[in-house]
Structures are given as C-alpha cells and as structure tokens.
Symmetry: C2
Subunit: 661 residues, 2 copies
Amino acid sequence: MNPDIVKERRNATFDVETLTNILDGGPEKTSRRREIESLVLNDPDFKEQDPNFLSRSERYEQAVRKSAQMILKLREYGIADPEEIYCYKRCVHRDRPEPLDLHLGMFLPTLLNQATPEQMDRFFMPAWNLEIIGTYAQTEIGHGTHLRGLETTATYDPATQEFVLNSPTVSSIKWWPGGLGKTSNHAIVLAQLYTQGNCHGLHAFITPIRDMDTHQPLPGIVVGDIGPKFGFNEVDNGFLKLENVRIPRENMLMKFAKVEPDGTYVKPPSAKLTYGTMVFIRSMIVGDSARCLAKACTISIRYSAVRHQSEIRPGDPEPQILDYQTQQHKLFPLLATAYAFTYVGQYMHDTYQRISGDINAGDFSELPELHALSAGLKAFTSWIANAGIEVCRMSCGGHGYSRSSGLPDIYVEFTPSCTYEGENTVMMLQTARYLVKSYRQAKAGKQLNGIVSYLSEARHGRVQPQPVAARPRVVDINDLASLVEAYKLRAANLVELAAKSIQQELQHRKSQEDAWNNSAIELVRSSDAHCHYVVVKLFTDKLGEISDTAVHSVMSTLALLYALHGITKNSGDFLQAGLLTVPQVLQISTRVKELLSQLRPNTVALVDAFDFHDMKLNSVLGRYDGNVYENMFEWARNSPLNTTEVHESFHKYLKPLRAKL
Amino acid sequence: MNPDIVKERRNATFDVETLTNILDGGPEKTSRRREIESLVLNDPDFKEQDPNFLSRSERYEQAVRKSAQMILKLREYGIADPEEIYCYKRCVHRDRPEPLDLHLGMFLPTLLNQATPEQMDRFFMPAWNLEIIGTYAQTEIGHGTHLRGLETTATYDPATQEFVLNSPTVSSIKWWPGGLGKTSNHAIVLAQLYTQGNCHGLHAFITPIRDMDTHQPLPGIVVGDIGPKFGFNEVDNGFLKLENVRIPRENMLMKFAKVEPDGTYVKPPSAKLTYGTMVFIRSMIVGDSARCLAKACTISIRYSAVRHQSEIRPGDPEPQILDYQTQQHKLFPLLATAYAFTYVGQYMHDTYQRISGDINAGDFSELPELHALSAGLKAFTSWIANAGIEVCRMSCGGHGYSRSSGLPDIYVEFTPSCTYEGENTVMMLQTARYLVKSYRQAKAGKQLNGIVSYLSEARHGRVQPQPVAARPRVVDINDLASLVEAYKLRAANLVELAAKSIQQELQHRKSQEDAWNNSAIELVRSSDAHCHYVVVKLFTDKLGEISDTAVHSVMSTLALLYALHGITKNSGDFLQAGLLTVPQVLQISTRVKELLSQLRPNTVALVDAFDFHDMKLNSVLGRYDGNVYENMFEWARNSPLNTTEVHESFHKYLKPLRAKL
C-alpha cells in the first residue's frame, strides 16, 4: 500500500463504511451488492483480456462469450430481481455496454408491454432462451429524436394477410440499434403503418432478419455493423435495409393498436402507454451520470494523492498534487457534484417506483411533472458529468491520456448519454415547455403543485431586473436553506425572462412556433436553472436523512460547496436578478476556497465510500493501493506492440530507406 | 452536390476565395499551399487505408511507410522551406501525429541548437539520412512539467571518460517520448549531471538505444511502447529504462555547458538559450487550436446545413438543423472563435519571427512578454478549442459518435495539447506571475510597456467593486473598440483581485509561496481574462487590415459576436467590476441572437473559406458536396466486421447456448 494513500485514509473524519451504506440504501444492500460482485469477480469464466489490447472483432467476441456465460450463470444462481441482474451484468462487463443490451433491455420488455397473449406464446420463451435474439430498430440514418419523421414503411397486404416492410430511401435505413449488426436474428422494427390507403403513424413489427439456424440474413434484408465509433467497441450497432420484406399480420405488436385481417385499423386506447419506459430510462441516466463521474473522481483524486510534482515551497519535497489549490478547485466541486447526482438519481428512481403502479393502472396525473423533470435532469446531469469526466482526465497530466488510466474509456462509454434517449438540447426544451406552461398557468392565477410551485410564489413582481443596491440582502451564504431559495428565485427569474422573450416575439407578429424558436436560448437557460435548483434542493433535503454526525458534517460541507461553487460559475445570473450583491459574490469566492481546504483531508475517504472494486474501476491510476507506477510499467510491457523487440516496419521501410538517401 | 448546400453557397454575401487568401496570407500563398497539397493527395504512394479499420500495429506500420515515402519525396521535390515541409507533412499524415515527429521536430533541431561542430559532424548527417533516428527523452513516469524533479542520472566517470546513465527508480523511467517505443535508435536523454561529486542539474545526452543494424535494444536498455492511448495510435510513445548505460563524454551536448575530460564542469553562458524553442512551440499550439476548431466547425456546420430534423412549424417539411436557434448558438460562437484564434495564431507566429533574430543574437528583452503571452494563450486557446470540438461533435447528433464523422479523431489527436508543452494550469499560472509582477511594478510607479501597459492605466482607483448604479455607463455594446476597453478593464480588475488575495494571505502571516498557492484560483482567472482581452483586441485589430468590403463586413459581425458572446458567458465579471449594467447585459443577450440570424446565410461560406480538402477533413459528415448518407452507408459496409455475414462468435457461443438453457 502506498504510504501517502494510507495517510489520507487515516486522516478522514468519518467512517467510510457508514457512508457506503447510506449510498447503497442500507448495510444489508451493501453486503448483497458485494456478494453479487464477488460472484462475478472471483469467477474464472469471467476473466477477461484487457480490451485495450484487442482488435474490435476480438472485443466483440469476448463480450459475446461473457454475455452467454452470464445468461447461464444468472439462471444457475437464480438471480431474478431486475436490480440484482443489472448489478451482476454491470460487473460481468465492467460497466461497458454489450451486444445483448437491447435484447435484454428493449426486446424482452417491449414484448412484455406490447405483445398479445398469442404473441407472448410465440416469441417470449424462445427469446428468453436466446433462440430468438432481438433488438429494437427505431432510429434511421436520417432520423433520430423526431419520431414522426421516420420513413420506414409497413404496408398491409390483405390478399396475403402480410405486412410488406420497406426502406424507401437511403435516409430511411435503420441505423444505430445495438446488437443489430451481427448478434440479432430478430428486430422490433418501428415503421409507418399503411393500410387501406391511409398512414396511421409509427407501429412496432417483429421482423425476422436472420435465419434461426445458419444466422445468414434473410431475403430482402441488408444488415451489418455500422463501423467503429468513439466507444461502444463491444457493441455491434447495426444498419438494416428492408427490401419488400413480408411478415405475417400477427407480427405487428397488437396489445393496443390493431390491424384486422381485412386491413381495418383499430386505434390504441391511449398514447401515453409507452411513455413510462422513456421516463424510466431517462431517470436511469441520471444515476449513470452520477456513477461515471464518481468513477472519474475516484481515479483522479486517488492519483492526486500519490502523485508528487513541482513545488509549493522551495527546497521542500515535491508535494502531493492534491495540495494545489487549482487541483482542489478542479476536483472537489466535481466530487460534490457526483454526490449530488447520486442523491438525485436515487430520488428519480424512488419517485418512478412510487408512481409506476399508478401509470400501469392508467393514472397519468403525476407523469407530466416526472416526464419534464426526467428530461431536464437527464440533460443537465449528463452534460455536466460528460464535461466533468474530461476535467478529471486532464487533471491527471499525461497519464490521463493513457488507456491504462481507465479515464478515456469512462468518457467514450458515457458521452453518448448526451444524445441517446433524447438529445440533450431537445430534452431541455421539453422541460422548458412545461416550465413556461406552468408559469402561464400561475400568471393566470392557478395555484401550481409539485416542484414547479415556486413559479406561483415568485410571481409577485420579484423578477424585474433592477439595480443591486435597491434589493434587500436576504441570502445567507452559509445557510443551505437560504441558498436553495436563491437558486429557486434565479430559476423563476429565468423562466420569466424566457416567457417574456416569447411574448415579445409574438408582439413582433411572429408565429407561436417562430417565437418559440427565437427564444430557445433563454428556454434552455431556464431549464438549466430549474434543474440546478432541483439538484441543490434534493442534496439539501438528503442531509435531513443522514443521522451519523460525522457523515452529516462532511456531506453538509459538500452540499455547501456544490451550491456556492455553482453560484461562482453563474454569478451573472444571481447579480442580474438582484439576488446577491457584489460583495457577497466576492465572499462566496473566499468561502469556496475555505471549503476546499476543509474537505481536503476527507476527499480520499469520500471517493473510497463509492466502493468501486479495482476490477470494475480498471485503472492503474485509481488503484485502491495507490501503487501506480510499477503497475503502469507492467501494463505497458504487456501491450501487443511489445510482443517483439523489432517491429517488422523497420525491416520493410526504415532500413531500406537508408540506401535511397 | 446536395441542393441544400448549393443553396447555402449561393446565399453568401462575400467571396470565399478572397477570405481564403486573407487566411493564407495572400493569393500566391493559397496557390502554393494547394500545389503542395495536390502533390500529396494525387500521389498514389500516399494512398491510405482508413486507419479506423486497422489494428494499432497496422496503423503504426502504415504511418512508418508514409513517413519513409515522405522523406524521399521531400528531397525529390526539393521542398526545404520549414513551413512548406510542415504543410506537406500534415497532408501526408492527414494532420495525424506520426512516428518521426520527434526525430524531425526535436532531435534534429536540438542538434542544430546545442551540438558542438564535432558533434554535428558525427550525428547530424547520419540523422538527416535516417541512419540515426532519434527522439527526445525528457518526461519520466513520475515527472512531467517540473523539470527539476527529473530523476534520471548521468554520472561522469573520468577513468573511462564516460557518462554512466541510470534510471534509479521506477518513477524515473522515461515515459511518453514519441517514436521511442519502436522507431528510434538514439535518444537525447535529459538527465541530472553528476561530476566530481556534485549535481549540476539537467543536461542532454545523445544515447544510442538500439543496434544500428539489427535494431535490437542495446545492453542496459529496456525500451518499448507505453501501450494504447486516447489518440496518437500511429505513434509509438515509449518508455526507456537505463541500467548502467555508458556513453562517451563527447555524447553530452556541449555547445553551452561542458564537462572537461577530468570531470570539471563548465557552466553555460545563459540559461535562456533554450527558452526560444519552447515559446515557438507554444505559439504553434495556438495555431493548432484554431485549425482543429476550424475543422470541427466545418464538419458540424456543413452537416447542419444538410441534416433535416424535427419541426419548427407544424406541417412544414423538416427544417435544416442550422435553422434552430440552439444549433446556431452552439456553433456560430465557435466559428467566431476559430477565426479569432486563427488571427491570434498568425500574430504569435509573426511576433516570434520578428524577435527570433534578437533572441539568437542574445537580446532577450522582448522574450519575457512573449513567453508570458505564449504560455497563457497556449492554455486559453487549447482549452477552449478542446471543449469546442466536443460541442461540435455533439451538435451532430448520433453520427458525431461515428468514427466516420472524423470528429472523434480531431478530438483525441488535439486534446493532448492541453497537457504537453506545459500543462495548461501551470501555463496560466506562469502568465499570472508575469501579470502580478507587472501590476506591482505599475503600482510602484513604473510605466509598463507592451501588452500589459493597461495595468498602469487601470491603476487609478478604477477597480474597486462597487454598486453598478454608481458607475458611469461607458460601454457601447455595438462598438468593438469600446468592448476591447471593457475586456481590458475586466482583466485589470481580476489581476488586481488576485494581487490583493496574495496580499491578504501574506497579512495572515502566510509565506510568499503559500500565499501564492492560496490565490491560485484568482490567478488563473486573471490570466484567463488577460488572454481573453488579447484575443478580442487582436481580432479587432485584424479588421483594420481587411480591405475587401464584403469580407470586412462579415468579419466585423463575427468579431462582435465573439466579444458579446464572451460577455454573456462571463457576465458576472463585467457586472462585478461595474463595467456593464444589468439592462446592458440583457441587451447583449438580445444582440447576440440578432447576430446569429445575421450570420446564418454566411456560415457555410465561412467554413468553406478555411479550405480544408475533403481528404484532409476525412469526414463523411463534413464532405464538401454534402452527400452524407450514401457515403456513410458505403463507409459502414467496408467496416471489417462486415467482411463475413456471420461472425464466428455465433457458432462459438450463441448457438451452443441454446442447448444449455
């Protein structure tokens, strides 16, 4: 064990295990999680070659091998609880996406939600037993977030009682679905349904794409891998071109909408029935943001504790880089953010669980707020985690660029979260739509409920920009409740500014739609401020649940740092809204520096509490024992370019060159 | 040609070629650049396989092959001007780093600058003719930016008149030098010189590491590749462990410092002699930042012109995504930044050229300012370009994640600029040191010269934070000269805040060094504001050189957007310093939106003017002809995973699994 990191752990003022238990949701959950993790990590069948040393084809193959093992073992051990399966799976694939993700996460659930009993009989057990391997083919090369724009067609032919599926244009080729390229033999294809001469919009069709026995593509199917990407090397994201592919009428998922044998279309009872899954997945991304940022913080903070560099006082030994104020200022606010997002992720998870029964029973009353919140928070947290991971990586100096650090992989596996399941800017605008609507309702005198209720309170002439000096100084910069209030009023101010911008555009005789588009910058800003308020609030609320005094104390410091650092980054908003004075902003900068020093002795313990096993962290810089350099040297020596001392290109090109010069 | 992109070009209000000529420095320079580019791009010897489809070893080999060809052809064509060589080389390797970079860019120049005539005879021609292939081995696994911390030793043994080189610890293993892993047979090793029992600090030693004939590592040399990285897949960044390696006394580079045969050490005449190269390379990175950001803007803006998605007005066809205000707000300020950094890069280049004669003649009077400026601007521009490239990538939706977009490669090849040649935070602090020193001199009554002279002007009680209302409203938000003034005063205010922070820390009886470290956040902020001021100023100055009215007009709009957008991102600073009022900040937001609309018709033409050849851009999204989707489909079909219809893992793992379930 590296002595620096031992010293750091000795200096912590709280018990790490207590905090880990809080993060897991109780000591018994911690121990069950570790039990599942050790099932995987001690299992020789899941030993892997470092993917960094493999070709893409080898990486894909290794992942398929492990996925197949995983399916067998989950049944062997009888692990059936979805959260436990998820935990096991993440451990098997070390948090990397894998070829069966869409089979397990989209194909099977979609059958469960949208298949008729007859379809369940025909498809579910074969899919459960991996005879049918499926994916979910929605996005097209020319079409992403805007579903109505999808071009794939499914035209009903009553003569044969079949649907005829087609990709009528290049831009309609299905593109991106995971597992489509090589792994799947079926796809749930989203296509515009045509019957009796009318288009009835998007519906889902179970489409065989490869022969069940030979795995060769079926007639009319052009399918393959979309090629290398920024990450996701284990996954065969694919393309699918459909050329007059005929499937039986009974392959349309018909639990809700139907096409009768004669071609008559029967509408679904509600459009909101598939809405819940989307909300669920976006809520999950909030948790992913927290976890990925927490991993990056673990690596960079542990490494900063063992890395010595440069000098603060001449003649002294080189200090730990964690002692530099600039390093603390890069990393500690991100650590606070990782904790904040963890609690927000838990809140979203719990809220979804709480109302999912209602949703299934057809009660959608709480859904709009949760939908707006999950859209905005998905964007807010994934953008910040995305940028934060890179700050962590760059805080590790040169070694952050090495694949051995684990940081490049965390980034490339995480960054698609900013785009998939709803492009972030579009998500922010969806939340803004809810905020502006709520604001208008409040203005019209309606009392708002839930998390946007502040838009009612704030409507008492508060948010006119006016000189700072004229404002009462209400904010106590050391009081979290007061800071939550300040964030709330900032959000209210920005929602009002956005609404006014729309109003002004309308007065210039713009259409509703152009007024909206011409206010989009302000709208995104208002969503951002709303989400920021929610995060500060939920972090503050969480403190009330922590009874351990020592943990409570360090969490309060983190929450205060999160709130105050956010103000320094957005001081213009708070000054503009007259919520803070110039001297207060200067005080906050000073206070942030004090908090950095105050947190310094606890930061290694704070990342330890996330409890990432070394095999999951997969980083020489982030090792629990801090023995970085010897392990980095050993890792490098195993790199494939070192299997021979002399690379063949020397004999082929460099040596012959001499004779020619 | 895609009709959307044709329409965009037709709508431009200025002549693209005129602007390209301005960027190149004159029409004759444009035509010479194109001539060199076509020499490479039409040469079948430089045809390459898409590196995305190759293994790392194949990528390295392809790069070695091209480098060898390049050396031959440069001599064949008689291209000898350094800038033309650089242009040719960048074209050969499509802007990717390559295995001979350090041989050409560090080994040969270091010989030229630091070798004695006898050493030139022995080493230069063999190196020129690639018998000797060298690298520059400075950084160690445990030591980067802080050179004094390097641990490698070179101990003089007068008995044999040799130096004995050693890597005494794991942390002293040389790490990162390009071309060290596989390519080089010599290294210039930076080591602590010990002679007659004393350490004389870092000196450079020409060290043979591989047999000239067999290329096998020599005795006592442990050398290899450091393994895969975030980018730089063509380069064999290497490690080097020295175990009692003996080299002749004459292999120490002795143009300046010397060790006599008896071991007597002779000091160099000036420590600043190797200073100029560092400044030169950092100045180059400013230009790199501009070029990489310009490429990313080219790809994302062209793609945004051909991509249709979603709807602004219901019932209308899907609009070009370039029509969304949020997309404009992401991309156009970055386009303005790419132009700003291009001009700053030219300024740094010209300034360096202007004073390099003085430097070589031993006149270092202008060097401190240029050193401070190059350090800060290297950090400022590389950080902003780094983040900007990712914004461009994410603005392309899902396809930005595909390697076919070219954007992931631009990012991973560029991002190390934030760390190499001086870690960015350290660079910012170096500039801050110069600023604080200048501020103190100004306070002591000295009249400052050069770019920091504003610290004298600003010292008339201006920069006390005080209520906004008490300040005169001097800034005209539509006048660039007035905005330059505002940026200047913002910088002056932040330099003063940093200096005061140090003063306060000293009053709390902190040492100079602790006071500095405890003010590091303010110091970085002050450097950042200083650099921002310099960029706004240089962009504004550049406008005076542009005589073409149409180009002048669009460049003025870009400069205004750059300045005003920067204020919206840092409005707290301007409000705090009392430089702007709250209503002005709101007006600026509105003005930014107007400028986005105003620029909209010219943006495709503005990226065209950068004149990146399609083969250099290497992006299906950024193609000049806008034919994106068909080419993306074709690219995907060539991906190695598609060479067979059925991946062997189906037969090995997936099919056998069925029987077990």
